[in-house]
Amino acid sequence: MANQTIIPVGPYHPLQEEPELFKLFCDGEIVKDIKWETGYNHRGIEKLSESKTFDQVFFLVERVCGICSTSHPFAFANAMEEICELEIPNRAKYIRSIIGELERIHSHLLWVGLAGHFLGYNTVFMWAWKYREPILDLFEMITGNRNSYAMFRIGGVRRDIPMDMIPEVRQKMDEFRPKLDLLTGAVTDDPVIHARIKGVGVLTRQDCIDFAAVGPTSRASGLNHDVRRDDPYAAYDMVDWKVITSPQGDVYAKAEVRLLEMYESISIILQCLEGMKKEPEGDTGIPLKNVPEGMGTGRAEAPRGEVFHCVFTDGGYTPVRHKIRAPSYVNIATFKKSCVGQTISDATISLAAVDPCYCCTERMSMAYDYHNGKKTLSGEELIRLSQQKTEEIRKTL
């Protein structure tokens, strides 16, 4: 099978150029093997954490990842509160859950937009990101920043959501729901999208167990686990919601799980706002005296799956060892099973369906010839192939 040579067409695409992440070894059209190279994003955060005081660590771990920025402080706070044996006030629990769920919504919307772009639906990309903006406005109103919120501290939250802000939060959620209906309808009703992503990038239940996959990636293969329900923290056991799963394991199932999770998030936020009305305003946390020696394991359900932090302390001011495991660390490895055997044009969407958190890991993919290892296609060419395939399918339907 000869190499495929594709002439790079200086394309417009809104994705970042990044060093090789995935090397797809292809025999003709089919992906035979994948190699992953990393290290480009390594910042030595676990080591840095050992030189920061516990309060400073919150600012550090927030910047592990920008998209799931709240989940890391969430898990770290859970770990520290386990060591210190603290029970935080209810209002703080509600506020933590609200921030966590708002983040889930904005992250899933971001994914819907990027998936739309990979498939060639640039309108979906533009609209999904447009509907993200009111959510980011809410963040700015509550926390002061669109992306890194600095809301957490050991013992509670740093800022309150005052009672007079609650109606506006509720209104923005109500305005958002019809837009979510529109996006969900766009994905679930379009026959071209069905043709593109149903049956593609399938990950079986057994593979998920073997690779220890978490989050929507594994829930879309039928695994029924969610940290918010299994090991409840914050306000998740004080409100009513359900875990979304789907048995097929393909890209469509992953998209469906993420879209339906956003509805649950809206419901959780509205219930938390109701619950907050009964809690005294300003009761945002309890003071911390000192951190004893011990080991704490804390976890939180990030938009991509379970975030796990393990902290060791020795009575001093800084952690002795701080282990951070982001969900993408285990999810990305599953590409060995879901992408091998697919055609090249399906490779980008299969990779994207795992929703790799770009800074828990990296970005690009490239294609190499399986027999002689020569590079054949670059990242944007792969995306272009994917978009072309959608066009072809659209013509036939």
Binding site: G10, P14, N41, K130, R146, C359, E380
Partner: protein, 136 residues
């Protein structure tokens, strides 16, 4: 200087390089394309190849591996090119400056023409920074 003024007068094409970053800045740069900020109305687009670019946007605290790539990229870029360091990490290394793999903020590796601080800088700030650079 007349040549430089001439070629930068019309719409700019941007190329984005993300170093070891947390992605907040990357998302805010992409946000500039979305309907609310819509950088395309100024004729600016994000291109996929450095050889087509007029402006190189760099963000992220650069680690040893990225340093090699950044230098390679800068050498491939058609000169003159404007380099903009975005975010606290791009300007000074930010919170990761004491990390064990940190390879210096961007201006220690390639010459920088503008700094846009923030963690992350809002899209308005990014656009304002680029416009300010043009008017310099």
């Amino acid at each position: 200087m007349a040549f430089k003024d001439f070629i930068f007068k019309k719409s700019l094409w941007l190329f984005h390089f993300g170093g070891a970053s947390c992605n907040n800045c990357d998302i805010e740069i992409l946000d500039c394309l979305t309907p609310r900020y819509d950088v395309e109305r100024f004729g600016m687009i994000l291109v996929g190849s450095i050889r087509h670019a007029d402006v190189l946007l760099v963000n992220g605290s650069i680690n040893q591996k990225d340093k090699v790539r950044l230098l390679e990229l800068y050498n491939q870029a058609p000169k003159p090119i404007l380099v903009v360091a975005i975010g606290a990490c791009g300007c000074t290394g930010g919170i990761f400056a004491q990390g064990n793999t940190f390879a210096g903020p961007v201006d220690k590796i390639i010459p920088v023409d503008a700094y846009i601080p923030g963690c992350p800088p809002k899209p308005e700030a990014i656009l304002a920074g680029i416009v300010k650079l043009l008017n310099k």
